[in-house]
């Protein structure tokens, strides 16, 4: 039997435990709030918590969609695989290409903010004071991470687990003590009522808030290496989704209702509130969690010492996941003919996808140069001010990050709907709630209402991004356009369908996926569903 034949390709070992699965996702998504908080407070002011709430609701829908898809199709390809299977090759390419943009931005943005957090203890690294030193350190970090990935050195799952555990404990302590001793509900309400932003600023803040929830690809990447993923992934994912949502909502509410431990004054020497240290100050925006932690009474004295270090390490892990993730996604896309086979090329000595790492690492470095240029050379400041409303380097990276995430997540929702309609036979051990039973092409299917709600939410964030991010609306679509042109050339060169899809045996593929995942009961259930469906169709003569 073909199904029983062992694959000739080496497979990833399934050694990740439930905690490993959680910490894998947490070390990726958990770092996002360290970046997003300051950016959102700077623009959304008194509505920052509302911006996080809106983005958080959308994120919960995305998280549930990824949980269902990763538990049903536990393969490392992630979003692009689900979209390719649900909608076809070209849409799978667009989703994957958008994720690749996010991963390259992830490398630069998180290395950048890692240095910003370090600057809290090492003021010599403050970007506005020593931009060249800041640039060189970020450059060295990105190049160093690429080099480590080329020679095959990765942080271990155990290291991820320890850092994640420390961070969950630390953030929980900051939030618990902050809410118990420094939170003033009337101050929160006062700030929301007196400092409500304009609709434009709220849209901008909401589109930036989504970057606090990016990285759910890690759920599907962990699924490939988790034992019994259909059982484990839903358990860990729900905890991960709630944890990240709580941290984002808690930080934004606390920042608006915080009675600072030490008095804060503005540039003119007038008393100011905590959130007011972020507008027009990119240095502060890059290390918001460290600044907030330092304002928690008593505990802040201790937190001011270790939170910048913990934040810098977590952000560096997340930056590394960008290097690793981009090469893995490119490898997966290449194996399904969405990208040229050169991205599958593995170095004979180190057994790593060197071409992918070097290619996407180079793009990350280019993004860094573009982001840092106006601060490094004043000659660039004028065109940036003229064409891009004077956006800073951090804004540029955040713009593209939000664009890539909103685009790929939009397609993932459509992919989920497509898979529910076209692949109703695959057993779904976890199914997102609120479904409408119906018949489609002779099969009983369940139409996911949450996916429609999530799609409307994330698509509106994509529109907010295009409306409010001068750089994102130019470079984001340009990235997709360049990718699409290359894709069409490649497909034409390989004589593959340009706009259509290759013929694939998805039934065999699904049975193989479940078998290699160790989900033998689900595989049997799937094969029984297929058999029953074929018999039913034969009886009906269709």
């Amino acid at each position: 039997m073909a199904l029983e034949k062992k694959s000739a390709n080496p497979e990833l070992r399934r050694t990740v435990t439930p905690w490993g699965s959680f910490s894998w996702g947490y070390s990726d998504v958990g770092a996002d709030i360290f970046v997003g908080l300051g950016l959102v407070l700077a623009v959304a002011a008194g509505a920052s918590n509302v911006a996080f709430l809106f983005a958080g609701v959308v994120y919960v829908c995305i998280g549930l969609a990824y949980t269902e898809l990763a538990a049903t199709y536990p393969v490392a390809g992630g979003g692009q695989y689900f979209v390719m299977r649900g909608l076809g090759d070209i849409f799978g390419f667009i989703a994957g290409w958008a994720v690749l943009l996010d991963f390259t931005i992830d490398v630069t943005l998180f290395a950048w903010t890692s240095v910003d957090y370090s600057s809290q203890l090492l003021p010599v690294l403050v970007n506005s004071v020593h931009p060249w030193l800041h640039f060189i350190v970020v450059l060295a970090l990105v190049a160093g991470l690429c080099f480590l990935n080329v020679i095959g050195v990765r942080e271990s799952t155990a290291f991820n687990g320890v850092v994640s555990a420390l961070d969950v404990l630390s953030e929980s302590a900051i939030l618990c003590l902050g809410f118990l001793f420094a939170f003033r509900p009337h101050l929160l309400i006062h700030n929301m009522q007196m400092h409500w932003p304009t609709p434009y600023q709220l849209m901008l803040g909401t589109s930036l808030a989504i970057i606090s929830f990016v990285g759910l690809e890690s759920i599907s990447q962990a699924a490939q290496e988790t034992q019994r993923p259909a059982s484990i992934i839903p358990r860990t994912s729900v905890a991960l989704i709630l944890t990240i949502l709580i941290f984002a909502l808690a930080y934004s509410n606390l920042a608006l209702g915080l009675q600072p431990w030490h008095p804060i004054v503005d540039a003119a020497g007038h008393p100011a509130q905590f959130w007011q240290i972020f507008p027009n100050n990119p240095d502060n925006q890059g290390k918001a969690v460290a600044l907030l932690a330092a304002q928690v009474p008593y505990y802040g004295a201790f937190a001011a010492l270790y939170v910048p270090i913990l934040g810098a390490i977590l952000l560096l892990i997340s930056s590394n996941s960008g290097v690793f993730g981009s090469s893995r996604i490119a490898y997966a896309m290449s194996s399904t003919n969405l990208l040229p086979s050169i991205f599958q090329r593995v170095n004979a000595k180190y057994r790593t996808p060197v071409v992918s790492i070097v290619f996407f690492g180079s793009i990350a470095l280019l993004e860094l140069v573009f982001a840092a240029a106006p601060a490094l050379m004043p000659i660039f400041a004028r065109p940036y001010a003229h064409f891009f409303h004077g956006e800073s380097g951090l804004d540029f990276l955040a713009d593209l990050y939000a664009f890539g995430a909103a685009t790929s997540y939009s397609f993932v929702f459509l992919g989920l709907i497509g898979l529910r309609l076209y692949d109703p036979l695959s057993p779904r051990k976890f199914k997102i709630p609120l479904n409408i039973p119906m018949r489609f092409r002779g099969e009983r299917v369940e139409f996911p209402v949450i996916a429609v709600i999530g799609f409307i939410g994330i698509f509106s964030i994509l529109l907010f991004t295009l409306r409010t991010h001068p750089l994102g609306r130019i470079f984001g679509p340009s990235w997709l356009l360049v990718g699409l042109v290359l894709y069409l050339f490649y497909r034409r060169h390989r004589k593959l369908p340009l706009l259509g899809s290759e013929k694939r045996n998805w039934r065999k593929a699904q049975a193989d996926i479940l078998r290699t995942a160790g989900e033998l009961e689900l595989m049997d259930e799937y094969l029984a569903n297929v058999k029953a469906s074929d018999e039913r169709r034969a009886k009906l003569g269709t």
């Binding site: 709430l53 509900p185 309400i189 729900v238 709580i246």
Partner: protein
């Protein structure tokens, strides 16, 4: 380890309830309390979810 996680879960519920009560006490402010209410509810949900996982782990 399970006891430690259980204590953390209970703490999450307590802080969630604390935030929820504080926000509901300002219910007259209308929409302004919504993000805080959602935060409190989410913390209670997470604590309950973790406790259910701990109980399941103890049973098996």
């Amino acid at each position: 380890m399970l006891i430690f996680r259980a204590v953390l879960s209970v703490l999450t519920i307590v802080v969630g309830a604390f935030i929820l009560v504080q926000m509901l006490a300002n219910a007259r402010s209308g929409f302004a309390i919504v993000p805080g209410v959602v935060l409190g509810a989410a913390m209670i949900a997470l604590g309950a979810h973790r406790i259910s996982l701990i109980l399941r782990a103890r049973r098996t």
